[in-house]
């Protein structure tokens, strides 16, 4: 066996060596541990798990370290690893109603069963840089309350009792839930496939689109019905047992937007919902996702499609930051063969243009001399 070797290989090897050195930084400073990243940059880890579609804080921390803190690169690393993992099956739907709640806020009721719970939020922090954090000051123990005695009903369940909000009916028993990691997307998508795509979609892209709906590009009168963050059990039916067993717990952020709906000939006026569900603590993403989900339901609800956020092909085809990064950055690969073809064409067209101009000037000159002669 022989292997073709050319100069490019040495260049690539050297580049990777330099990258490794830059990643490590000043060798006299201790290296970051995965525990530090997972523990102290937890929201970055959560974002990488969400958009990387793999719930594993330790691997996400490794990806962040390997990518030098470039979160989209970290998402890519996690996705490329995920795709090689064997697939054992699908979990049962998680029950967010039974979530062990760490944070729960509703903007539509002053109080509600289970109460409002601020939890670990940046909300109401004054955004003043804190010099104490430059060091390692001791931190006060968090205050712990009693576990709530009443179940924290989801706001949608409260409203559903009065028929004020659309029912979220589960899809038919037999129908398989879409899996966008196993089949090519086929537009128009079902809401299941769409929500999956949004859940792994780029936070910045969805944020901008969600924001655009608030500014009038497909306004949907949103209210933050409820945002809840906490752990849920993941259950799976094992064929050998024939019933569901808990295989672990994951932290999720769920957002239910409550939106106006005027009703139609068949349906009386009621509220509709947009839904967001993301791994980890990712409130901004979950809210943006819910706004986009609602906007993308335009066709289903008989609304006019007038704005970018309502355009399913546009939104979903461009929401994946691993795809977008790859294609934007591929422009740095050599394109000189095609550029040569364009160069040749532009040169030829310029020559023809100049020739035409020259002929034109000649005609004008001839006309002028003729005029002068007359």
């Amino acid at each position: 066996m022989y292997v073709a070797v050319k100069g490019g290989e040495a260049a690539i090897a050297n580049a990777h060596r330099l990258l490794a050195s830059r990643r490590r930084g000043d060798a006299s400073v201790p290296a970051l541990t995965l525990e530090q990243i997972a523990g102290q940059l937890a929201l970055g880890v959560d974002r990488v798990m969400g958009e990387g579609s793999l719930y594993d804080p330790e691997l996400a921390a490794l990806a962040i370290k390997q990518s030098r803190g470039d979160l989209i690169e970290a998402v890519f690393l996690l996705r490329a690893y995920r795709t090689t993992l064997p697939r054992f099956g699908y979990s049962e739907p998680v029950d967010t109603g039974a979530m062990v709640i760490e944070r729960r806020v509703s903007a539509v009721f002053k109080d509600l069963p289970g109460g409002q719970l601020l939890g670990p939020t940046f909300d109401y922090t004054h955004r003043l840089l804190d010099p104490e954090l430059a060091g390692d000051h001791p931190v006060a123990e968090p205050v712990r309350g009693e576990a709530p005695s009443e179940k924290a009903l989801r706001v949608s369940d409260i409203l559903a009792g009065d028929g004020l909000i659309e029912e979220n009916l589960p899809s038919e028993e037999d129908s398989d839930v879409a899996d966008i990691t196993r089949t090519a997307l086929e537009f128009p998508l079902g809401r299941d496939a769409r929500l999956q795509a949004l859940a792994r979609g780029d936070e910045g892209f969805l944020l901008a689109l969600g924001y655009s709906t608030q500014r009038g590009y497909a306004r949907s009168h949103p209210f933050a019905g409820e945002i809840r963050i906490g752990e849920v059990a993941v259950e799976m039916v094992l064929p050998e047992l024939g019933f569901a067993v808990c295989i672990g717990r994951v932290r999720l952020t769920e957002c239910q937007m409550v939106n106006q709906f005027k009703g139609s000939a068949k349906v009386p006026p009621q509220f509709t919902t947009g839904y967001g569900l993301v791994f980890g603590q990712a409130e901004r993403k979950a809210m943006a996702m819910a706004l986009c989900d609602r906007a993308l339901r335009a066709a289903e609800l008989g609304e006019d499609i007038t704005a970018p956020a309502q355009d399913e092909e546009f939104v979903i085809s461009h929401s994946d930051n691993v795809q977008a990064t790859g294609f934007v950055e591929h422009l740095k690969l050599p394109h000189y063969v095609d550029f040569q073809a364009e160069l040749d064409l532009v040169r030829r067209m310029r020559a023809e243009h100049a020739a035409a101009q020259a002929t034109g000037r000649q005609d004008i000159a001839t006309d002028a001399s003729r005029e002068a002669a007359e």
């Binding site: 066996m1 022989y2 292997v3 073709a4 050319k6 100069g7 490019g8 290989e9 260049a11 690539i12 995965l34 594993d56 330790e58 691997l59 490794l62 890519f76 996705r79 490329a80 995920r82 795709t83 090689t84 064997p86 990691t181 196993r182 089949t183 090519a184 997307l185 086929e186 537009f187 128009p188 092909e313 085809s317 691993v322 795809q323 990064t325 790859g326 294609f327 934007v328 950055e329 591929h330 690969l333 050599p334 394109h335 000189y336 063969v337 095609d338 040569q340 073809a341 364009e342 160069l343 040749d344 064409l345 067209m349 023809e352």
Partner: protein
């Protein structure tokens, strides 16, 4: 999973399957390839996987190659016609590592040639498979961005929009101003994107003896042109399709009727034109052909 990183050991390459992809993924891609061959020029959707290189960098071609390659194969990878461009080097190294296959730069010796942007100058033969890396597989995409619409157009053989676009070119520029990714009609049925090869290469696709496979990873499509298949570049009777011509031979090997790269030599307009297909050029020089700048430092740099 945690144990793997707790021991500080990155997963060894040996823990990946032969040719990287798992067997279920390979079967899925192989089924798509068979359908693609049966319907020449039709884009078969496939569940493209995330690969360990970025989308847009050849993930479609890499998945096709990974699904077909075996231990007996000899692989050549080119980008811009050259074996030593960095992405070609990187993809070749990937397969040498994960499939342990022999690699070559020689077109004649290869059983699989993965390419980006060029078709080799040497005529391909029956035992060879040419795998194209495709960024945007849909030839109608720049006329109609919606997949739902372009799919209908293909279904109904409704290609009027493409002819209108080409004719508008003629009206504006006096000629069709598409110089690469020039659309072709396959076997009189499907309009197909030949990938961003210069239109110079289009005639090589027509009735080629080699099987041609096209992989678009990000766009999740595979398509094919079987051997001896009609591949006709779209044109008009009064404006027939023409390929690029160069008014000089390769400066290194004196080859004519090949595609040339323009190399900038200095900042005062100095240029040289050399073969884009590096193997073809080396081969000719080995046979004693010498261009007007043979012996130029660029020759050893290549």
């Amino acid at each position: 999973m945690s144990a793997q990183i707790a021991t500080d050991a990155a997963p060894a390459i040996a823990s990946y399957n032969f040719a990287y992809l798992d067997e279920q993924t390979k079967r899925m891609i192989r089924r798509a390839i068979l359908k693609a061959i049966a319907i020449p020029g039709y884009q078969v959707p496939f569940a493209s996987r995330e690969m360990p290189m970025p989308y847009g960098w050849g993930t479609g071609g890499v998945q096709v190659t990974a699904a077909i390659i075996g231990p007996e194969d000899v692989l050549k990878v080119i980008d811009q016609g050259a074996d030593d461009t960095t992405n070609a080097v990187s993809i070749r190294a990937f397969f040498a590592k994960v499939a342990n296959v022999a690699t070559t730069t020689r077109t004649m010796e290869a059983t699989i040639i993965q390419t980006r942007h060029r078709i080799p100058e040497t005529k391909l033969s029956a035992g060879q498979v040419l795998v194209y890396q495709v960024p945007i597989p849909e030839p109608l995409r720049f006329l109609e961005p919606r997949e739902t619409e372009t799919r209908k157009m293909h279904a109904l053989e409704e290609y009027g929009l493409m002819h209108v676009k080409l004719y508008e070119d003629i009206a504006r520029h006096g000629e069709i101003s598409t110089t690469y990714a020039y659309p072709v009609m396959v076997e009189g049925r499907y309009v197909m994107d030949p990938s961003p090869t210069p239109k110079f290469d289009n005639p090589k696709m027509h009735r080629s003896e080699a099987l041609q496979l096209f992989g678009a990873g990000r766009e999740k499509r595979i398509y094919a042109v079987p051997p001896f298949t009609e591949v006709v570049s779209l044109d008009f009777e009064d404006h027939p399709f023409e390929i690029q011509t160069f008014d000089r031979p390769c400066a290194l090997c004196a080859a004519e009727n090949v595609y040339l790269d323009e190399v900038v030599l200095d900042d005062s307009g100095g240029r040289m034109f050399v073969c884009s297909d590096t193997d073809h050029c080396e081969d000719r020089r080995a046979q004693g052909h010498r261009g007007e700048m043979a012996g130029h430092p660029l020759e050893t740099a290549k």
